[in-house]
Amino acid sequence: MSAIIEVKEVTRTYMQGDIPVHALRGVDLTISSGEFSVLAGPSGSGKTTLLNIIGCIDGASSGQVRVSGHDVTDMTRTQGAEFRLTHIGFVFQAYNLLPVLTAYENAEFVLMLQGVSAAERKKIVEPLLADVGLKDMMHRRPHQLSGGQQQRVAVVRAIASKPSIVLADEPTANLDSETSDGLMAVMENLNKEFGITFLFSSHDELVLERARRIIRLDSGKIVGDEYD
């Protein structure tokens, strides 16, 4: 498998008042295409920071990051947005759907930004929502859906445009075990069916059990890398 994510000697330091906080201290990591991996570690270990840097929504203080063959280290904000739109899908911890749009509209949002026609969007989004068990709820607003249903909509939004990578930051953090398991099963199926690379950040045992690779971080460094 070819490397889809390459992180070389990445550091990230930010200031908390006058005190520098070293979130990442020289991380080297390679993720291959089609992996179903998790960045694990306690709070403050740097897993979310690393995920954000890979997703081009945060910048590294030093080092180099390549995603899908593109050097994303020094992208401008607009270049980063364009890159994310075509290459990366995001699933966030707190659902983060747009409350004024229906489940269907949230799911098609990225496709719409890409300029895909309405008819084409419908062909893509409706089966995906049906696949995740939301066929009858696609015209509901987020507040009319449960947490698990919202997170499934967020997953469909992330994968609808067939990105090469889906980055999921603590996707099960707000869900009960049963819902979490169901959501992970959905993502695992999508990974297998479409070959989309999934990279999670989580300390949820349920996620760690399903992941085929666990990269452990502590105090901004990789301290373990286990393959299932």
Partner: protein
């Protein structure tokens, strides 16, 4: 989708959006109403100034303009026909005007004595509509009774009434003392103070004879089809009237023209004051709306919306809410102003006087508005830059957000 997002965001906090739209609508409604009031006032003033005595364009001997004297007339010749041929001219009427004493055996007063052709005069002025007692002048009959119509206030001053004789004394064009005895056949109230207090109207040919003017007149009054085009029509007349002064109303009553300019410029001050208040409310509402959605903006930016697109969305919300409010306000303002156009505004609510004078023009207590496109759409057009200015800051802040900080709530 961006547009849909912007519109739906406005319905999230319906009370806030409704109050914002309502505030803008009320401000625009009041501005439309005020502009229609001012335009009605100005129109009334221009009408009052030009419809009675001054006319829209006046042709005179330049020396008469410098020094009004009976001797500074000019031969009528074919001027009436020449002027009628100019595009935009609706009607023309010649006049003779001298200054002197009028009175009876009891008392006298200073007056301007104006000789007119009753038939032609009715086409250029509304003098005949101002008769309050008696009748308008009849066509002069050779050796017939000589008639006069005088201003009502003049009549009061000299204790004259219909049927009384009126004695005139004035300097004729040849330097001699002109005089005549007329019979008062009508009293006049025009709303023009100078006319109502000082004017005596008589037949043109009678006064030409009395003042030794022969065929000469002192002025030709011109009515145009479009009073606002009087300058251009006067310019078109000048080549046909060599040696004569052709003056549009703006030149003859510059104070009214200046007053129109001032009122138009003072519109800007009014707009500035009202829209400053609107801007504070609008800015605050949009700023709050943007601040409440910081996390959402972070997500939008993270999934691939460009900062400029987010800027546009937030700005569009502000412009949309403003335009909805402005259009509602313009509609309400137009409706209210239309009511006052038809039924007038009773100013006696603010004054116990039956009428009032402004720059020699008398206004009744009921002022009729003028609803124009300018009055209705100017407030809408002028609020657009206000919306831009109020929307730019929240939009800029949203576009400059760090997705990471916004999602984590660290902004």
């Amino acid at each position: 989708m961006i547009f849909r997002l912007a519109i739906r965001n406005l319905f999230r906090n319906r009370w806030r959006s409704a109050l914002t739209v309502g505030g803008i609508a009320i401000a625009v409604m009041l501005l439309v109403w005020t502009l229609a009031y001012i335009e009605g006032f100005v129109a009334e003033m221009v009408r009052g100034a030009t419809a009675v005595d001054i006319g829209q364009i006046k042709v005179q001997n330049p020396e008469y303009v410098e020094r009004p004297s009976a001797r500074h007339g000019f031969a009528l010749g074919t001027h009436l026909e020449d002027i009628r041929a100019v595009p935009g001219v609706e009607a023309v009427a010649p006049r003779v005007r001298v200054y002197g004493l009028v009175g009876n055996e009891d008392t006298s007063g200073v007056a301007q004595i104006i000789g007119i052709d009753p038939e032609l005069e009715g086409q250029v002025s509304v003098l005949d509509k101002g008769i309050t007692q008696g009748r308008w002048l009849g066509k002069g009959v050779a050796d017939g009774p000589r008639e006069a119509v005088i201003g009502e206030r003049l009549a009061t001053h000299i204790h004259a009434k219909i049927g009384d004789e009126l004695v005139l004394f004035f300097e004729a064009a040849d330097g001699s003392l002109g005089n005549d005895v007329l019979t008062i056949v009508g009293l006049l109230e025009t709303g023009n103070t100078a006319i109502d207090r000082n004017a005596v109207y008589m037949n043109l040919t009678d006064l030409q004879y009395d003042a030794a003017l022969e065929d000469n007149v002192h002025e030709i009054v011109v009515k145009t089809t479009d009073i606002l085009a009087a300058d251009q029509i006067a310019a078109a007349m000048r080549p046909k009237l060599p040696g004569l002064a052709v003056r549009p109303w703006k030149e003859m009553v510059p104070e009214i023209s200046q007053m129109i300019d001032v009122s138009q410029k003072s519109d800007l001050i009014l707009f500035a004051m009202v829209y400053l208040i609107v801007a504070f409310g609008l800015f605050n509402a949009q700023r709050m709306s943007a601040l409440e959605r910081t996390r959402e903006f972070g997500v939008i930016l993270a999934i691939g919306v460009k900062p400029l697109q987010l800027f546009g969305t937030v700005l569009l919300e502000t412009i949309f809410v403003t335009l909805v409010g402005a259009l509602i306000g313009a509609g309400l303002g137009a409706a209210l102003s239309w009511y006052h156009t038809v039924y007038g505004l009773d100013l006696s609510l603010f004054s116990d006087r039956a009428n009032f004078d402004v720059m020699g023009i008398s206004f009744s207590n009921r002022l009729y508005f003028s609803v124009t496109l300018n009055a209705v759409f100017k407030p809408v057009i002028y609020i657009v830059p206000v919306a831009f200015l109020c929307g730019i800051w929240p939009a800029w802040k949203a576009a400059r957000l760090s997705a990471v900080e916004a999602i984590s709530g660290r902004t």
